[in-house]
Amino acid sequence: MEIANLPISPSQRAKLLSAGYTTLTSLSAVSPFQLARDLNIALQEASDILKVMPEFTRSESLHGGNAILKGAQTAWDMLSEEQMQKHITTGCENLDTILGGGIHCKEVTEVGGVPGIGKTQLGIQLAVNVQIPVEYGGLHGKAVYIDTEGSFMVERAHQIAEGCIMDMLDKFRHHQKVILACQEQMQPNSFLANIFYFRICSYTEQIAVINYLGKFLAEQKDVKIIIIDSVTFHFRQDFDDLARRTRVLSGMSLELMKLAKTYNLAVVLLNQVTTKFTEGSFQLTLALGDSWSHACTNRVILYWNGNDRHAYIDKSPSLRSASAPFSVTSKGIRNATSQCKRVRMM
């Protein structure tokens, strides 16, 4: 492990190197006093440097249980925590099935597809569904909707909220108690009031909003989903230096991953498609390149299969790759009408 990787200022790094501290191990045994004398810097500064170091080495080796290492979890604890988690339903049972119950919290899910397939529809649907009250089996959370393309239509959100409420009331019509308990929440307008909408006009703003979200989420409790529609648009329009684009994007995805973990929420990124020349033919693939494809936990591709819209799990650490039909109705995303169960495992 080299000193060069430590997150300290270059002047400090230069001093460390010239004093002969080249590796982390050489730093680990030194006391702040000694370091301050060797580098000819203030004691405070020296102890700051040493403070940076353990944090940094810890993230290097994440083995062992929580009793052994602070901030870590055993796999068993993670499992039970996972089982406690509720998922955000997409409104389409088949889609929920292949997603393992819906969109997962603490994970970054990317959804891509050709224009007009229903990405924005799914985004709006999730922003609505996350608000289903606990009594109705939902999460009763709020939603952050980051719109980079201007395609969020509030009229449509209202329609989808109405559709969602109608279906919920229908499903729970025998539970009068539940219906009475959350009469107030089950209004389309109160659904709309809990969608925080950011309209982004450049990639700078997109980065800014993601950096700022940490603070925003600390103030606004109960946000359970962040939807970015689409993550691609500005990065595809006006970024010339592709190498830098990749680094900025990966910084952004790390930040999102961190938000998802810290605030226990789901992050859904909508992505566009592009064509790629592989093995002698043009094929569709999601935009932003190969290194970006590592940035998200799950990747779902929406595509046309004959006359039906289908969703395909392209990448996931825990789910089998599978496809399921869905349809976009006036109420929102629902099961495909033509056939009830046609989930295909691959």
């Binding site: 997150p7 200022s9 270059p10 400090q12 050709v114 224009p115 007009g116 529809q121 709006i124 393309e149 201007g150 969020f152 239509m153 509030v154 009229e155 449509r156 307008n189 709309l192 809990n194 969608i195 925080f196 909408y197 950011f198 309209r199 982004i200 006009c201 450049s202 700078t204 703003e205 980065i207 800014a208 909003v209 993601i210 950096n211 700022y212 603070k215 648009f233 500005h234 329009q237 006006d238 830098r244 900025v248 498609v273 592009t274 064509t275 033919s281 043009f282 094929q283 569709l284 693939t285 591709i301 595509y303 046309w304 299969n305 004959g306 006359n307 395909y312 392209d314 790759s321 109705t329």
Partner: protein
Amino acid sequence: MANKLISQMGLPPSVANVFAARNILTAKDALSLPEFELMTLLGMGLDQVKSAVERISEITCPPYQTALSLMEDRVRLGGHLPTLLRGLDDALCGGIPFGALTELVGPSGIGKTQFCLKLSLLAALPSCYGGLNGRVIYIDTESKFSSRRMVEIGENSFPQIFQSEGMAQQMAGRIIVVRLTSLPEFTERLQQLKLTLIQHDVKLLVVDSMAALVSGGNDTRTAGPKQHLLRWPLSFLKSLAEFSRIPVVVTNQVRSQSSNEAFHYPFQGKEKDSSKNFERLESHLIAALGIQWAHAVTIRLVFEAYSGQKFIKVAKSPMSPARAFPFIVESSGISLLNDDGFKVMGREINTIRFQGHNILEQ
């Protein structure tokens, strides 16, 4: 807000000065660098850089709105330019939406320009007749704009207005036609437009056609390298629409699909070879501007013709399902044959058909 100056963000002077000294002046400069690179460049510690970036982000980040307040705004300010084609207006929740990019795509001669002319008139009409009572900027790249035809459409669809003295002149006077032929010229004009739109109460911006700007010359080969030239105008058009809350309508041409463009994902395999051949026989047209462009438009209306009939198809829209309406072009412009239309399913939504209009056969 990307160009906000860092010196005015209330950072501690010592930090702000370092930013200035390293020539990182705007939020854009600072935020498009990874944190680590920023540290190296500024020679500051992680904590300092982090808090500076946090501060810059907070200020650069646009304020949020709840969807509810968005809805209230929409109701208050009005949000649509009605096309007066009832079926289409219903499908689009009231007409061409403000603040969004609407694209008309279809083969030549099918009626895209007719539709644009009618829309221009509608935006210019006084509000008591269902118009927006504003000016229109019509960017004509193919020299297809015909004022005679426009007045004819006006006379036939709104006789009561156009027969009164001086009204035709007043209406036509509100429509400003800009003739352009090249993309650089277009880019330059767009920048000037930003202020004009607000100062002169412009209510509609039409670009007819966008594809002509790019495809000038031979476009039979890859459209790829040329497409990137459109990136800037594209996002600028979108932000113009958003910023001045007007509808922006652009038209797009079609080109024939070349044989090696297979549009499916690797995981779908080659199962649909037979159906693909069938499809290729039936439709060889695709929109001239490629998939990246298609992603960026909010609403796409496809104009197509088959079995002796012309159709307008809502192919992409965030608020309505795909629906097609048969139409004819009359002296009063485009009119729908029925307002119910019919549902379109699956791949048909994106195909553009053009056949059955051979005059010799009729």
